[in-house]
């Protein structure tokens, strides 16, 4: 069998089927929900459910065995099978590419799960995703390809609003743009690579968000990685949420400023830190900091939690720091009008100093933007290294951004944007409440389209992923080091493209797999239960009741828009 990945021809599908596979038609107007603005009210403290002790014990045991067996194998392997371990040994006077300890986790755990990661796909990552089947050999050392594919329900792509499509207004516009503007740019933005289309898109983004101006970059990661060097220096301080994305941490490190972190979403700790830092000033010299930036994310993609924006704005007014919000996952996907966390909390976006976001997710495109005041954006245009050295964002991608944004704003196909927003809100709430009622522990805010379902024991990650793949459902499992050691999880990314019936199907299978793998541990404190007892609903009841109930805030605990924080 071939070790070379086959190229898949998907042209056999009729246009109707293709459309349905990419974006399922709405089956009833009942399956919509318009998210409610919080109108400036902060979020109450989240309630996090804890699993029973034996679950944690098993999880630690899992790791303990893994570590002991791994080290024993390494110890003997290096001595008795040096050929097999050649990658770890010095060779010809040169150090190995990576050392034994750096790579321990990768070799001893990640490689064993490799068949659950990086599954090759083809075609549009829409409502369904076509994965190319492969057979692992020698504990995932290599794969062979039988040449078949599996079309799975897609809960893995960041396709929140379902704009990953190959039919429709966005695609038509992208294809047309290839004709007019081509696909290359021939140099950085500030040298030769700026097109009118760039400026138009930047203005549209600023309009969409409701700020003065914005600036585009060809990669979301690079946006953060280059931004901070232009606004911070060694006499500035950044206070960063401990769970901020790697790109933010990279950018901050490159800027050379001082960094402090606060526990995830803990506003009291943040305030304490602010008071301490403002009053103490810079270390040693005790001069006041030149400026302080607080960096948070709108929606945390591993947790499903949101920055507590109203509280942050309140602190900002008191302590005069600058606020940076990374809206990578929240822009488009969150808020009654899809304008991200500001919209969700009912806060004027001009109150936030830097609104960064990526276009990879809700808009089905690629790249990132920074938006804010004219003064900030003008300075960034001149100074930021991504404008001076990096490749600009390409024309077809710009067309995709422009058209998808205009659909959300109702300028193209009026009504379509509204439907997409309503569907993601409904789907997110339906799936979340359904999972809670079945007895799973899920994290995050009620309206979050990212739903992490907790597995705890690392051995359950591959089991879960493989079982669902067999049931034609594509999910992402994440564990240490992307999450804390004990909270391995499945991350379900909900999309507008999913139909209510797809979620029924998903819930049925998750319920079955959950029973088989012992995943239903919830105690009910975090939702799904009305009487305080652990919820263990029957799947039929869940599917019958939840689509209506999920629109009613009384079935959610604490974090819903209309419930008052106590």
């Amino acid at each position: 069998m071939s070790r070379v990945l086959p190229q898949i021809d998907l042209s056999g599908l009729s246009v109707e089927d293709k459309k349905e596979n990419e974006y399922g038609a709405l089956t009833s107007q009942k399956y919509r929900y318009t998210c409610v603005s919080r109108q400036g009210k902060p979020l109450p403290d989240p309630i996090e459910d804890e699993p029973p002790y034996y679950v944690l014990l098993i999880t630690y045991l899992n790791y303990l065995i893994l570590i002991i067996v791994g080290h024993v194998k390494d110890f003997f392997g290096i001595r008795f099978k040096p050929k097999k371990y050649a990658d770890l040994l010095e060779h010809d006077g040169m150090a190995p590419w990576y050392n034994k300890f750096e790579s321990f986790y990768i070799r001893r755990m990640k490689q064993k799960l490799d068949d659950c990661f990086a599954r090759p796909t083809c075609g549009v990552p829409g409502r369904l995703i076509t994965c190319i089947d492969r057979d692992p050999h020698d504990y995932n050392k290599y794969f062979t390809y039988p040449g078949t594919t599996s079309t799975c329900l897609n809960l893995s792509s960041y396709n929140y609003l379902g704009f990953a499509q190959s039919e429709g207004a966005c695609t038509d516009s992208a294809i047309e743009t290839v004709e007019k503007y081509g696909i290359g740019t021939g140099g950085p933005r500030n040298v030769i690579g700026t097109m009118q289309l760039h400026r138009e898109t930047e203005r549209t983004i600023a309009n969409f968000i409701g700020v003065e101006d914005s600036i585009l970059f060809s990669m979301g990661y690079a946006t953060n990685a280059s931004l901070f060097s232009s606004i911070l220096d060694k006499k500035s301080l950044i206070i960063s949420d401990e769970l901020n994305h790697t790109s933010i941490r990279t950018g901050v490190r490159l800027s050379g400023c001082s960094v402090k972190t606060f526990p995830h979403n803990n506003m009291d700790a943040l305030e304490k830190l602010l008071r301490e830092q403002i009053s103490q000033g810079q270390p040693r010299s005790h001069r006041p900091w030149k400026k302080i930036v607080v960096a948070v994310e709108g929606l945390y993609s591993m947790e499903g939690t949101m920055a507590n924006l109203p509280k942050l704005i309140e602190l900002k007014k008191k302590y005069k720091f600058y606020l940076f919000v990374d809206e990578a996952h929240s822009i488009g996907a969150i808020g009654p009008r899809g304008r991200g966390v500001c919209d969700y909390f009912g806060i004027d976006p001009k109150e936030v100093d830097i609104l960064m976001g990526t276009l990879t997710k809700s808009f089905g495109a690629a790249g990132g933007y920074v938006s804010g005041s004219q003064q900030l954006i003008d300075r960034l245009r001149l100074d930021i290294n991504a404008q001076n050295y990096a490749e600009p964002i390409a024309a077809p991608v710009l067309a995709q951004i422009l058209s998808s944004m205009r659909i959300i704003m109702g300028e193209i196909n009026p009504g379509e944007g509204r439907e997409r927003l309503d569907r993601i809100a409904f789907n997110s709430r339906y799936l979340r409440l359904g999972l809670q009622r079945l007895g799973f522990i899920v994290y995050g805010v009620d309206d979050s389209p990212v739903i992490p379902l907790l597995l705890f024991a690392p051995a359950k990650m591959p089991a879960f992923s493989r079982m669902l793949y067999k049931r034609k459902i594509a999910v992402v499992v994440v564990g240490y080091p992307a999450t804390p050691l004990t909270s391995s999880r499945v991350r379900l990314c909900v999309s507008s493209a999913l139909k209510k019936e797809d979620i029924d199907y998903l819930l049925r299978h998750l319920s079955e797999v959950g029973d088989k793998l012992f995943l239903k541990f919830s105690s009910g404190v975090a939702g799904g239960s009305l009487d305080g007892k652990p919820p263990r609903w029957n799947i039929e009841d869940v599917i019958r009741e939840t689509p209506e109930d999920c629109k009613n805030p009384k079935f959610f605990v604490g974090t819903s828009a209309t419930t008052e924080p106590k």
Binding site: Q7, F217, K235
Partner: protein
């Protein structure tokens, strides 16, 4: 009274108190499983030696205090104790600087002079403000003019019709499609290497690849004129970095010798060591003596990291970059990275090398793991570009490449043979480079009182950055850039677009002065390449010839 209390008394009273509390504590302790053992131990040790109990207790208290406070007390060292009210006052008084220094009127021209294209950016372009005129593009890095290729466009449209635009996920999470993996295989095959990894953007690639193989304690010897992406990468890696003089192999060897004597002789385990250089330097336009670099690398057991962003699709008979130019197999280069947005007219970048290194990137390289895959259509476009470069190769030379080489040589010769420019500019780039680098002649710069370099060691900018000044505006730098912009503007009026490369000056540590870049691409005719020389040469003569200090300064007042 006080004098009458002896040490004996103190011990006795404390003995009593201790005994009492131990008895009460003991009753509680015995209820805890295993507690009776502890109580028994304490009792017996106490009976033998009451002072020892006291000491042990003291030790216990100290240990608890140490473990609970040690971390915070070390961190808080040097903190000033303040009352709540004082903190409130300080918070109220604190006034931050603005988030960004506003662009003032002296710099405004820089913003206004960024050219805006009205149509596709190919061999000929249309710029906003130039009445729809078709202009010669001598500013492009897309040397093979693949943007004009109808076949690629058509294929790209087909891919978008099949896959949409975005990949909507990182490579490890269902973001890699068959098209991406085909491109990785195509690139690996094209360069004859074992593995290839794609990245979403060129500028971040070095900064993601290098830190995944370099950690604290490792060694890097890098060319002092490396581009900003590499400078940033080395900053992130935390390795020990030594800079050798630009393309100076003796300096490189000297540093390596010194390092060997000081560090490598005794080290155990061996640290990772890299030579970092570029295929064609973005800042200068020349290339290193690869034979010598390889010889040194083998002698001192280093690895090579080569950034070929401007040399892929330019150097070598079939565009395979610097090693091909020197007739060296790619396997001698441990890591090569290159942009796909330049000669290949697509997006993203790639990294090629052996299998082990490639696999490790897929887990350890941050911009690969934590960023979305490239849009699939771009992967297809690069695969097609490789096909085109490879097509109709006669005698090992691709026709596309031979045309580019001819133009590059022609442009270089026309400028070096131009006697009128002799005293006005110097050319720093190599003849093989498709980008010509022109810099104002050092004599003129001296006459105008301009510094040797604006960045790098000993420069004004370095001082300001080190001291943490917010004001990074340097008058002379702004003026020199404006002078070059005048040359660019004159060329634009004559229908030729040339580059005044933009820099993030405050971030650079390489020694730089502003310069002009003129490039060729295969979409032009031979006559147009001649035209480029004529127009640029005239513009330089008009602007720079006989310029005096007063003129230089008054010109700037006027802007």
């Amino acid at each position: 009274m006080a004098q009458n209390i002896t040490i004996e008394d103190v011990i006795n009273t404390s003995h009593h108190i201790l005994e009492k509390s131990l008895v009460t504590a003991g009753t509680y302790m015995e209820k805890v499983p295993g507690g009776s053992i502890v109580v028994r131990y304490i009792k017996s040790s106490h009976r033998n030696d009451p002072i020892r109990t006291l000491l042990e207790l003291g030790l216990l208290v100290f240990a608890i205090r140490y473990f609970t406070t040690s971390r915070s007390s070390v961190k808080k060292k040097g903190f000033v104790k303040l009352t709540q009210a004082e903190v409130d006052d300080l918070c109220e008084d604190w006034e931050p600087e603005p988030l960004a220094v506003p662009v003032d009127e002296r710099e405004q021209w820089q913003l206004d002079s960024i050219p805006v294209n009205e149509a596709a950016i190919v061999a000929h372009v249309k710029l906003q403000g130039y009445d729809n005129k078709k202009m010669i593009n001598a500013a492009t890095l897309n040397f093979l003019d693949l943007g004009s290729n109808e076949y690629i466009k058509h294929e790209v449209q087909k891919v978008i019709r099949n896959t949409g635009v975005g990949a909507c996920g990182p490579p490890n999470f269902y973001g890699n499609q068959d098209i991406h993996i085909k491109l990785e295989n195509d690139l690996a095959q094209f360069f004859g290497s074992e593995g290839c990894v794609l990245y979403g953007q060129d500028f971040t690639t070095a900064g993601s690849v290098l830190p995944s193989f370099l950690k604290r304690g490792d060694f890097v010897v890098a060319d002092a004129n490396c581009n900003l992406a590499i400078q940033k990468a080395l900053q992130l890696s935390r390795a020990n970095v030594y800079w050798y003089k630009h393309n100076d192999m003796e300096d490189l060897e000297r540093i390596m010798f010194a390092l060997r004597d000081d560090f490598f002789k005794y080290e155990k385990p061996i640290s990772r060591k890299f030579i970092v250089t570029e295929g064609l330097f973005a800042n200068v336009g020349d290339y290193p003596d690869l034979n010598k670099v390889i010889q040194l690398k083998e002698k001192f057991k280093f690895r090579i990291f080569l950034d070929e962003s401007l040399s892929f699709g330019v150097l070598g008979k079939s565009g395979r970059g610097l090693p091909e130019h020197f007739g060296i197999p790619r396997s001698k280069i441990d890591i090569s990275i290159a942009s796909m947005a330049n000669a290949f007219n697509s997006s993203g970048a790639f990294c090629i090398g052996d299998k082990v290194m490639s696999y490790h990137q897929r887990i350890g390289s941050l911009a690969y793991c934590f960023s979305a895959s490239l849009p699939p259509y771009t992967a297809r476009a690069t695969s097609l570009a490789l096909e085109l470069i490879n097509k109709d190769r006669e005698y090992g030379e691709s026709p596309l490449m031979s045309k580019l080489h001819k133009y590059s040589g022609q442009l270089y010769d026309s400028f070096t043979n131009d006697k009128k420019l002799e005293k006005l500019v110097i050319i720093r780039s190599a003849r093989e480079s498709s980008v010509l680098h022109l810099q104002i002649h050092p004599d003129i710069r001296l006459r105008l009182g301009l510094p040797l370099s604006y960045t790098g060691s000993g420069s004004e900018m370095e001082k300001r950055v080190k001291k943490g000044y917010s004001d990074k505006f340097i008058e002379a730098l702004n003026n020199e850039q404006f002078l070059l912009q005048s040359v660019v503007n004159q060329c634009l009026k004559q229908g030729v677009v040339v580059m005044r490369p933009a820099y993030s000056w405050a971030q650079e540590i390489a020694p730089l002065v502003p310069h002009l870049r003129v490039s060729v691409n295969v979409g032009l005719s031979e006559k147009e390449v001649k035209e480029i020389h004529k127009v640029v040469s005239n513009a330089i003569q008009n602007v720079i010839k006989d310029i005096t200090l007063e003129e230089f300064e008054t010109q700037l007042e006027a802007k």
